[in-house]
Amino acid sequence: MGKKRKHTEIIEPTKKDDSVTEERPKRTLLGWKDKIEIKETEAPGVFRNKEKVLVTCSRRINFRYRHLMLNVVSLLPHCKKDNKVEAKSSKGATLNELVELKSCSSCLFFECRKHKDLYLWMAKSPNGPSVKFLVNAVHTMEELKLTGNHLKASRPLLTFSSNFGKDAHWKLIKEMIIQIFGTPKEHRKSKPYHDHVFVFSIVDDHIWFRNYQITVPHNESDKVARGGLDKMTLVEVGPRFCLNPIKIFGGSFGGPTLYENPFYVSPNQIRALEKKNKAGKYAKKVKAKTRRKMHELSNPLEPDEFADMWKE
């Protein structure tokens, strides 16, 4: 305890000095007007990442999706988990408020609809942007097929496929992912080693997420020669999911639409189609039957001339 206090005492004076010498940045009630400027002014030349992510979900979420959320929470040491939020039309305002209250700078909101469809909102807090994804192909960390394991709160390496640089919206999403999923350097909960990798890859216009543990043969773990790195293998830890971007909004949880996925079909529509097809099946059958009957009536069989040959 005593140690900790000392530490803070040491650090604070330097901060104060900075703020005294530089002009104090403008602060509004809602937070800082422009964050990056502030960071620069706070400590000139030194960038410090103070990202905090709020992770919540909607009410009536599926257990599977809830587990996915918990897995994400366990992967992000810089996140704050909060109570479920009612997914009403006014949820954007409540979420914004909540993010402010928790003094977070970004938010991951898992919204479950109809106990089936999971939407993921990724938002930067005070002034946007926010992205809405449809989440597919969910596998949680609890699955026994995913055999890896890694340190909690070690900083992940983020790998992106090169097609993230292809388009403006992908670039934006990449930047948001870097900020939200990357653990800040020297975060107080983080550990100084790297033993897992996140994979973000765009295949078929979806972002696929994977998490792998890095394993290096044991005896070389102290001093890794080049041979040791070559023998490195990866074991999947999980979770797995696949994000289908639907829309990008200018503000956080709202604002002008900047991007709309032109290929997107909502799962509701898909289900409706399926139902329609199924319903059509029976109708078709009935129709075919009546048609057949009509056909038989209109062209009756010719009377068989040998019909009563064997009657006698």
């Binding site: 990056i36 960071k39 620069e40 030349g45 960038f47 990442n49 366990s74 039309s89 942007p129 597919n136 394991n149 340190l151 909690k152 070690s154 390496l157 983020l158 790998t159 992106f160 496929s161 090169s162 097609n163 403006a168 670039k171 934006l172 930047e175 870097i178 900020q179 550990k191 100084p192 080693y193 790297h194 990798v197 994979v199 890859s201 295949v203 078929d204 979806h206 792998y212 890095i214 044991h218 773990s221 102290d222 890794v224 790195l229 490195m232 990866l234 830890v237 289908n244 200018g250 709202g254 002008p256 639409t257 900047l258 996925n261 290929f263 079909v265 529509q269 898909i270 189609l273 329609k276």
Partner: protein
Amino acid sequence: MGLARKESTFSDEDGFEDEDVSELNEEVSESESDSEGEEDVKLAEPSKQAVYNRDGLEEKLQDISWPENAGWIHKLTIDIDQEQEVDVNDDLKREASFYTQALEGTRQAFEKLQSMGLPFLRPADYYAEMVKSDAHMEKVKRRLLSEQKEIEEAAERKKAREAKKLAKEIQVQKTKERAKQKKEEIESVKKWRKQRQQSGFAGEVDKGELDLAFEGGKSFERSNKKRPGVSPGDRSGGKARKSGGGDSGKGKKKKNRDFRNSKFGFGGKKSMKKQNTSDTTDDLRGFSKGDGAGNKRRKR
């Protein structure tokens, strides 16, 4: 406000897409039949109403991105080229591409970290909380083990099955061979007999008898002569003395029976066996001298 607007745009879009729905019909049903229910469906061609505000996106990117002087160590990102387009529905290839991306990325990142002189692998004696609990890892391990065991057992079963098949085949071959041999022997004997008949060498007396024996199909009937080592009254044919010598191969039961017969008597004269002779009266093996428990008791 933005949300309300969003809803309106959604409904708008729905109305628009209803036209496409009919032409989508076949395609959707096809793709749904072979893929999981979870797989999503895409529109065949991009809808024209979709918003794409490139300037806005770029502006936002400028807004949120970190300052230039933020080093790589803050981001820890690596971009990896995908060599070729991956087919989404080919699970193995897709996962392999993810794996290679991760592996390549880690290599590059580690090289960077190494050049910076930063530690990146945890030492062997660094213990800390892991993402998955020990209980869970135990479960994983158990599952792996059981899987392995299952595979081994299956392999063993397969092996046994094959061995059985082979054994059967061999058995069939053996029986065939035996039958063949038997046939050949009979044939050879017949031949020999014919030759003898032709040459007229043998005596005519037992010739007829032999003929009968062969033509009746009984090869080599037992002669009526006395067999050596069998007493004239013994109906068991000397088996009784051999004590369990019966090894006709019908199994344990037969053997057992034979042994008992030899011990308790089956077949043969009973009357003479049960009488004492001079030998049996002289035999004192059945008695002990009697310095056992009785004496001790008396001392007490």
